[in-house]
Subunit: 222 residues, 2 copies
Amino acid sequence: MTFEKPKKKKIPQMTITRLAQYLNCLSLLPTEQYEEISSKELASKIELKPTQVRQDFHHFGGFGQAGYRYKVNDLIIGLERILGLDQQQKLIIVGMGHLGQALASYKNFEPLGLNLVALFDVNPKLIGLSLRDVPIKDIDDLPAIVAKHNVTIAAITTPTSAAQNTANMLVAAGIKGIWNFSPVNLTTPPDVIVQNEHLSVGLMTLSYRLKTLNKQNDGEQE
Amino acid sequence: MTFEKPKKKKIPQMTITRLAQYLNCLSLLPTEQYEEISSKELASKIELKPTQVRQDFHHFGGFGQAGYRYKVNDLIIGLERILGLDQQQKLIIVGMGHLGQALASYKNFEPLGLNLVALFDVNPKLIGLSLRDVPIKDIDDLPAIVAKHNVTIAAITTPTSAAQNTANMLVAAGIKGIWNFSPVNLTTPPDVIVQNEHLSVGLMTLSYRLKTLNKQNDGEQE
DNA sequence: ACTCCTTTGTTAAAAAGATAACATAAATTA
DNA sequence: TAATTTATGTTATCTTTTTAACAAAGGAGT
């Protein structure tokens, strides 16, 4: 009912990840068809058990009441609030290679309350151009732009070799959260949050799961 | 010593993820400087405790012997083996938008034992071109190419609306592992493994962490 | 050669997380 | 209107995972 405060108890990291998954899943639902949804239905879409969903919600007091199913809209609003997506934040992307361009064209930032302010690169040929009306700036202008627009989040999509230097520059400019797409484990001050998006880790996990599945099916031959 | 079999005990999912992180981290080390590494050093790079590292390794019998530090090369080889990266596998990418191109230019596939065989798209203007000597093919040719080269893994980088159909096609073609970059929760048979790379989930997590950090610093006002 | 320090492997304890069981409440049907 | 079904909130139990403690083993220095 309240979905207000974590009540001083620690929220498990995995719960937060799942809340984000719930929200991602819910926002993809056709709104006409799904005005309401049960924990059972939602769980099945993410391959979880209904209890897990309810327990996750319970950390925040729950989002419905006994007997009713959840109202999808209430869930979305509540989850957005918990995840801090109700307050608009400013975002930049550093490194306009393929990956940076991919991110810049990503349409789902605005619905998440993220406002893409500027893009950065060192390549003079790119500087001055725009992607989706967002200008590509010289990396030297970064501190000024971050300060001017009060940017809090930055995505690093530079080559590996430039990642740590970029991070240093971002920290110096006052960035609070780094969304890191480089494989590097960045060194940053404790008050700066780094969210790693190490693609190779996902790929390795997939490889492992494939291998173990095969072993099971093959009767563990080697 | 043996790092051979999981000994019938279940390996925690998080352990696998960490093994991948260890490997990612180790492969970035300058080889001359780091011939050996201790659990303490490795742990600090990923912000873990040394015990965690040793416990993770212990599931596989360990990689060193008491008194010695780990030999980086032994670790790398052992981890690659556990993760199934020692056996070459074939990979394709479906969807040659920015993200697909980013993936295709990703240089770290080969070191992981992944062999990028072909790229696919529906856009006639792209078909026939090449990226890093890998040809872009018509999506209609997918089944034949998968069968011919014995491709096991496919990355989905299509638009959201095409993701499920693409998955269906991949499954029909005999793909065993799907590396899914679309936000959709795909429906697939149980013997097909889906590794989701839901970017928005990472972003939401970052947002949450930023919010809670601020709350702590602000003394939980609101 | 012996002691001290460092380091890993291993086992045991503690903490955390997921699952199940149960109480409560609304809607539907007889 | 009462009974049944379906649903969530909540608490308790059980399982998993992490952390700590300890034993074994090599290397360095005296």
